[in-house]
Symmetry: C2
Subunit: 696 residues, 2 copies
Amino acid sequence: RKKVQIFQYVFLKWGLALLIGLTTGLIGFFNNIAVENISGFKLLLTNKLMLQGSYFKAFLAFAGLNITFAAAAGSLCAFLAPAAAGSGIPEVKAYLNGVDAPSILAPSTLFVKIFGSVLGVSAGFVVGKEGPMVHTGACIANLLGQGGSRKYGLTWNWLRYFKNDRDRRDLITCGAAAGVAAAFRAPVGGVLFALEEAASWWRSALLWRTFFTTAVVAIVLRSLIQYCWNGKCGLFGQGGLIMYDVSKEVSSYGSYDILAVIVLGLIGGVLGSFYNYLVDKVLRTYSVINEKGPSFRVLLVIIISVLTTCCAFGLPWLVSCTPCPTDTTHECPTIGEIGHYKSFQCPPGSYNDLASLFLTTSDDAIRNLFSNTIIREFQMSSLYIFFVTIYFLGIITYGIAVPAGLFIPVILAGSVYGRIVGRVFHSVSVLDTGLFSLLGAASFLGGTMRMTVSLCVILLELTNNLLLLPLVMIVLLISKSVADCFNRGVYDQIVKLKGLPYLEAHAEPYMKHLVACDAVSGPLVTFSGLEKVETIVHALQSTGHNGFPVIGEPPFSESPELCGLVLRSHLLVLLKAKYFSKERRLSGRDILNKFSPSDFAKPGTGKGLKLEDISLTEEEMDMYIDLHPITNASPYTVLETMSLAKAMILFRQLGLRHMCVVPKSQGRPPIVGILTRHDFMSEHILGLYPHMRQHK
Amino acid sequence: RKKVQIFQYVFLKWGLALLIGLTTGLIGFFNNIAVENISGFKLLLTNKLMLQGSYFKAFLAFAGLNITFAAAAGSLCAFLAPAAAGSGIPEVKAYLNGVDAPSILAPSTLFVKIFGSVLGVSAGFVVGKEGPMVHTGACIANLLGQGGSRKYGLTWNWLRYFKNDRDRRDLITCGAAAGVAAAFRAPVGGVLFALEEAASWWRSALLWRTFFTTAVVAIVLRSLIQYCWNGKCGLFGQGGLIMYDVSKEVSSYGSYDILAVIVLGLIGGVLGSFYNYLVDKVLRTYSVINEKGPSFRVLLVIIISVLTTCCAFGLPWLVSCTPCPTDTTHECPTIGEIGHYKSFQCPPGSYNDLASLFLTTSDDAIRNLFSNTIIREFQMSSLYIFFVTIYFLGIITYGIAVPAGLFIPVILAGSVYGRIVGRVFHSVSVLDTGLFSLLGAASFLGGTMRMTVSLCVILLELTNNLLLLPLVMIVLLISKSVADCFNRGVYDQIVKLKGLPYLEAHAEPYMKHLVACDAVSGPLVTFSGLEKVETIVHALQSTGHNGFPVIGEPPFSESPELCGLVLRSHLLVLLKAKYFSKERRLSGRDILNKFSPSDFAKPGTGKGLKLEDISLTEEEMDMYIDLHPITNASPYTVLETMSLAKAMILFRQLGLRHMCVVPKSQGRPPIVGILTRHDFMSEHILGLYPHMRQHK
């Protein structure tokens, strides 16, 4: 490459990281403002009607708005972009592992993800906007990296450098990190999330670029928040960069507290893994309903919305009123604004603590639970009711056709659980129940998501209390270890459930008993260095392979030898250009002068050339094509006797898509077969060798 | 493996992580207490004598103690364990890259590192104890992983599972992380440091284990610190888990502050890279002196100690006295204890601000500079003098024969620099000069060490002010980018200077123009599957190779084919056991029953069998040995025509030590050559192909 091209590449790399950071920061902020204003309006209206005593009217308004928003979100999702349903983190994870599933990162998915998420959260579902933000960040990165969608005619010449797997994967990683950073206002947590959970391959250089992206997000968010301080953003409020600040709470603890925290972690791990188990069961049930068509999906959304609405509005009637505290600086009961003490059905001078959790935004509910200065004590009955409701609503809500993050439901359920445990240990523990609540959230997060360092940093950045760090670490370690005994992390489970061919980092034990050629299956289609057009077209039509080995044969080499690997997409480009010759002769490298390197660049998902687009005459079909110039002459190869476990590690570590298996002894064809991602899936191998199941 | 063995392995893995955490935490704390008490005593004595007006006596006491400590540290280092000199981070980094340099992690190195570091810091050198703590952590991990040193008879049977490269590397990574965690009381920062700077290979599972180790360190530290709160630890003081707490300082900033911060980052980057440049020059000069023998090394240590002492005691005379603040809660001037306001030569009621920086521990000096509540303003002249002195003393101190960390000198110089910049921008900036000081430290760290995320988290954990995060990120990004234009990070530079064969993560551009067989050099020594003992002994004597390809030959296979690779250490075990046969016949797998797997385990550095230990009779030399059972039958191979760049990536990503290059065409010997780490070094390749230099 020339100097100017290197400069263009570097400029583009950092420019795109900057753009991803800016856009994700802006969208994250927009998302936040929209949710706060829409749900704020809804809650304000309900609250006002309740204060006026028009309980039925209040219910109608609340339920009406909830169901309308839910139906809108569900329709968007079901009809426009089914890929936008759910969290999106499993999909991003699979993409970064090398799975090119269609439409995961399409512009329509982005659109639905943003607006569906706003509507879904506003509809009062027990869902978060964090998972969707990760997906949104990834979509933005993909869109920017492709120079916009070709459909909408936004392409730019410089972007040709980014048409390869690695650069695109790097961008998506930055996008995912930016998403977390925007969702939790946690720039370092975002980098670590991308590293620990999202990415399958990682380089030090990428750490650096991701860090830059999330720094941009943090700066954007900080400026916008500062701009909103003087009330220009409607109901957005005056929050700072720290979402749930507990830095003012004293955190001294003794040995009994450690004991309490260990118990908290143990039970949190069990409850977290049970959560995963139930989510899995519910998703399997829903997939039957969802297959029946988009209208059924919308119906499911509406049913869940009705259920959620009834719980949120109905359950607070069950608890008794609490007299307002006298020493608080907060208004009680809250009249106009979205405050912390909800009056609900209670007489003046008292408030309903369950309504203060249900009839508020999730962010405010978490703030109420984490803090010990806002609402000092909740009634035990309120906590129990809230815990059970949120735990099960969270489970049945995930999987319906709305963008739904798992973080917020898990944090909510965990923090109530933590408060309950804190109350149980009240007599022996000096640790504040608000901090117990935070630790409870940590234990649930550890039990469901099974992340460690990233969760720790995200929680730190959410709450700004560094002194709690040792306790948070203990809780996360315990809950993750306990939960790992039962099942896998929730995202891994969903990836598996969706049937995406995800390559694990380690080889399965039974792979040690097999060698590379054992996993080779299916007919091998090879081309000769100078191949007839007809043969190529036929091979492309009759197989779905994306890579074909090219064999050099006698007139052009001494004995048959492996020239390399040619990709389907490159063959199509060559076929389209019709650069054929009548005789079998080498055309040399001048063929490449007819193309620019960008012609062979990897196109966006589903946007490449198709065989049907190329029409060839009978005469052309009889001609020859020289494959040497477009053959990758150094494909990665393994000997057929290489242990399959080692071959799999090689395949995964280097991020390959095709691996050639070559024979060990001489005098045989120079290639035994090709291994692809699907050949390493345990379903495939155990299908071929069912007796290996015992080694599993 | 059987179930019980898997259990033993898992138990050991976590048990060792726990032990590493515990031991490193304890040693880190011991280190801290020892330094605080020894330098505390020294400073107390000097201070008392100064207050009494016996200035010359004070100088004698100060200089005498300094030089004694320095000479002790230097002698320990020069005579006992030269590998303990310097930071140790470059050596750990090289070890984790796969370089098995002798004595890097030996028990004697550990001993000298701990005590030399305490003495060196107590001697008043401008050195930190952080780098040495990383090395200490790594040594502890190595020692525990080997089951103690064999010399001292501490071995344990279970540990046989840990005698391989990967498990040992994982332990050392945990040790390095624990070191950082103990040094800075920054558990998450430790994990990130290990990830970003130390480790060359990283797996998600390792993140999790490292996190556990640093959590243990954090808990140990916290309990010990709590134990010391009631003054049981001498002069250790009442610090908490946060070393330089600035969380109480307000951090609001506007657009002018951003401008000031950008300027700070720019200049910080330049100064940081200049620091690296000077360190490199000084190290090259010192290496000439150091080669002359241990006594010269000790002499150099003493000279630097005298220089440092004169600066610290002499320079405060130059500045004028400052009247004591009236509103402070601190005693002023400090009389007995090590406080913040040093009287020095000043009359009662006033203090010497330069002495308050020089005649105190580095930790206290940094605390004074970061904070705005302790000493509100320093005189500009004091700041300038301190900056220049510390900047150059730091540079000339690194490289002498004492364990010397780079973090503290860089943080010190950076924080003074930050204060100076803060004062320059005083009129337009609302940001506090104490916070400027913190940002200055960040800019210097970014400019010298070139880490990003880990520095950010370490600074966060050191100072506990999350609201500064966006500014710290900006400063780190700018200073690293600026400094990267001039030279490489200081640790990379030192690795290079020491001539360690460090494998970079990316291939050099000229490697794209070469193929794998171009880098193969030297005579290839192969064995046949059934080889004469004499041939093997001769090959082991005449070459230094550690791996030999084994070729299967006709009576036992159809045509010559590559059986695999046999390691020197395994050959030696087989030779020692004298399992030979008179005829050329296959002995089958029963030979392995004579050995336990642990006989072939990788021994600790420099502890393996040697050829000289084995005596063979002439009769035995004529016998045959069957190499098949000990041959690694699936070595990683590349075709000779594979691009060298791709081969290098394969070698590095998979952490290989030997890679077989196999021929492409048939009818040739089944192996072309072997590539090792040294064959990928640019010195080697550019030596073979000098004309490639232009592509560099």
